[in-house]
């Protein structure tokens, strides 16, 4: 039952694979799981109205091998853009509702008066190429209307059934507005209809100045409403967690960006800071060599922590580049798992023509491993437009 979209798209993509055809193959090997991974990607554009895309992979971790499809989709659109559709395996995002990966179909129609209607139906994707359950399905729709040239507002509804049982039924409301050339605002709200209550709210508003962009954000999430409705843990009530704050992105110098994120988290009755300071310095005008540094203070209750991260990418002659990334996390409380967790990676990359290759050494200490060193290798080849 779940294989039919794959077959249809495989046939259709052959027809869509006219120029430009892009192919890509990547192989990743690491001493940590997954031990090996091969990814094949193909994109075919048959003009502006029809395209096909597929990403398949095979990998092995320890003694287990697996092959799966990440994306296999055919996209079609009428010349005027009034109608658009997708068929196959893809991620569907319907307004304020959570993204869902399905094997199915989705369509969008632009009606007069600035009204958009979109809908999808299909089988929710689970790990592996097949599922033993016969009555898994998901369907949803959204209707949206543009508000002049300012923005749009939309209402979405989706229902998901797992093995015939109601797993999720949500109503979403989203709105976005470009209030001026410099001001944006957007909001979304997801309401759980199975166990009535607000599942998730997210609000963001930004102002873009000449050198500084500021953003105010707020989110509210109730974990019990994000679980499948069949879970016993959905009956425990609404104890939402909130996260709010402001972000300022400052172009301090032509090559230097400084980002400050000053926020707070509230979980149950506890309020804790969530602060991040970042800087990125481009070492040349095109940014081929860059440095970044970040300081963070985050967590909630007895799970607060402080962290620092630094990364660098230095371009070398002969299409080579050396990169390094370092992170140090210090937990406030020792739970018998240690408090200081460093992580580091150093890599040498080569990118020339259609070829890409990289090798890296990764070292870390974590609650799981007192110390660990892994080696990673990657080889990629592109054909067609990169």
């Amino acid at each position: 039952m779940r294989r039919w979209p794959v077959a249809v798209v495989a046939l259709a993509s052959g027809r869509a694979a006219a120029d430009p055809l892009q192919l890509r193959a990547d192989a990743l090997a690491t001493t940590a799981a997954p031990a090996g991974l091969v990814t094949l990607e193909a994109i075919g554009d048959a003009g502006p109205g029809l395209s096909a895309e597929a990403v398949v992979w095979t990998g092995s971790a320890s003694d287990q091998g697996r092959t799966d499809v990440l994306v296999m989709a055919l996209r079609a659109r009428t010349a005027g853009g009034r109608l658009a559709g997708r068929l196959g395996r893809f991620v569907e995002t319907l307004g304020a509702l959570r993204p869902i990966q399905i094997d199915g179909a989705a369509a969008r129609a632009r009606a007069p008066l600035g009204i958009d209607v979109e809908a999808y139906a299909g089988v929710p994707v689970t790990d592996g190429l097949a599922t033993p359950r016969a009555w898994d399905w998901a369907a949803g729709g959204r209707i949206a209307r543009t508000i002049g040239e300012v923005g749009s507002i939309g209402v979405a509804y989706a229902q998901q059934r797992d093995d015939g049982r109601l797993a999720s039924e949500e109503l979403g409301v989203d709105a976005g507005a470009a209030l001026s050339q410099r001001d944006d605002a957007s909001a979304k709200l997801a309401y759980d209809l199975a166990n009535p209550g607000i599942a998730e709210v997210s609000v963001s508003a930004s102002h873009r100045g000449r050198a500084v962009r500021t953003e105010l954000y707020l989110s509210d999430r109730a974990a019990s409403h994000l679980l499948p409705a069949t879970s016993l843990f959905t009956v425990l009530g609404d104890v939402p967690a909130q996260h709010g704050g402001a972000v300022a992105t400052w172009r301090a110098a032509p090559r230097l960006d400084v980002i400050a994120d000053l926020g707070a988290r509230r979980v149950d009755r506890e309020i804790d800071p969530a602060i991040a300071l970042r800087a990125r310095l481009r070492l040349d005008d095109l940014g081929t060599s860059s440095l970044t540094a970040e300081l963070r203070r985050d967590g909630a209750g007895t799970d607060t922590w402080t962290g620092a991260r630094g990364a660098a990418r230095i371009a070398l002659p002969c299409s080579l580049a050396v990169t390094t990334e370092l992170e140090l996390v210090i937990a406030d409380h020792d739970r018998g798992l240690g408090r200081v967790w460093p992580w580091g990676l150093a890599a040498l990359a080569w990118d020339r023509g259609g070829w890409q290759a990289a090798i890296a050494v990764e070292g870390s200490a974590s609650p799981e491993d007192r110390r660990r060193v892994d080696v990673l290798g990657q080889l990629g080849r592109r054909w067609g437009t990169p």
């Binding site: 994707v125 923005g151 709105a175 009956v235 972000v247 994120d261 860059s290 799970d303 607060t304 974590s366």
Partner: protein, 344 residues
Amino acid sequence: MTRTAIALTCLLLAACAGVLGLSRGGPQPFPHRAHATAGVACTRCHAGLDASPGALHIPDDAACATCHPKPHDARPCLSCHAAAGALAELAEARDHLVFDHQQHTAPTRGDCMRCHTGIAEGDDHLRPPMATCFRCHAHDAARDARRCEACHRGLMETQLLPESHLAHDGDWMREHGARAASSGDLCQTCHREAFCADCHGKTVPALPATRRFADPFAASVHRAGFTARHALEARAQPGACATCHAPARCVACHTSRGITGDGRRSPHPPGWVGPAAADNEHGRQARRDPAACASCHDGAGQALCVGCHKVGGVGGTPHPPGWSSKLPLAALPCRLCHPVGRAP
């Protein structure tokens, strides 16, 4: 002390001015302003605007030599008198924009600065912003229908970032969720299916941070040492994991890694479950983050809970005051505690 600090700061800035891009030791933007004020018409140097739409119309050394017959350097003029990346930016514009100078010279009466507004101020970016096009062209229908290909060629390959609306600045990884809700179709004009699926797909083999390990600036969730801090991040954001991962994901991974599973001791601290109210920390924690409980106890593990939390059981009702559900008692999970036909 303050003077010393100011002096040190100035000294540091001066020392780093080149790195920060505050001073330029390399190629300089072309002095368009000087030429314009000297009365040099744009088309005198940028010849052929009316004839060859596919060309860049960049003047060569011979064009410069008509006024500057004695070059002060043997190198090509534009190797120094053009901002770094400016020529590459123009070539990219020619390849990816549906545009023809020929059609614009007559309507603008040869006034190039009607579109290239910043050029006289030494703007490095010779390509006008999109808003400039919209001053004259009513592309509302194409814009509303997301028919970007009317002006842009190969938008998915150019990797341009929006300059004004939906600017991918700050913490875009967090922000994109709220923005994409009402602009999903706009996102699809630049991003292919795999871009979303790389993080939101259930069949992701490895996240971008792993697959592109040699690029520390690649956008990705769970980067760097996330494995070490994931428990802290999960507890600080109840439900965040459940927005992408199935509840069973935690126990599946922990079991495969031998962290939890059969025969291992309980991960819960003393006082987690007990006869006295003070010994029932699990209730408070479960309300705070039920997704964390579900990550181990969902499915068959729910029997552990309903052993006490059932009608007439010692655990009492787990429902908070005013709780309601539209599910029938015969449906899961109600029937675990409420046998069909029996009043709650």
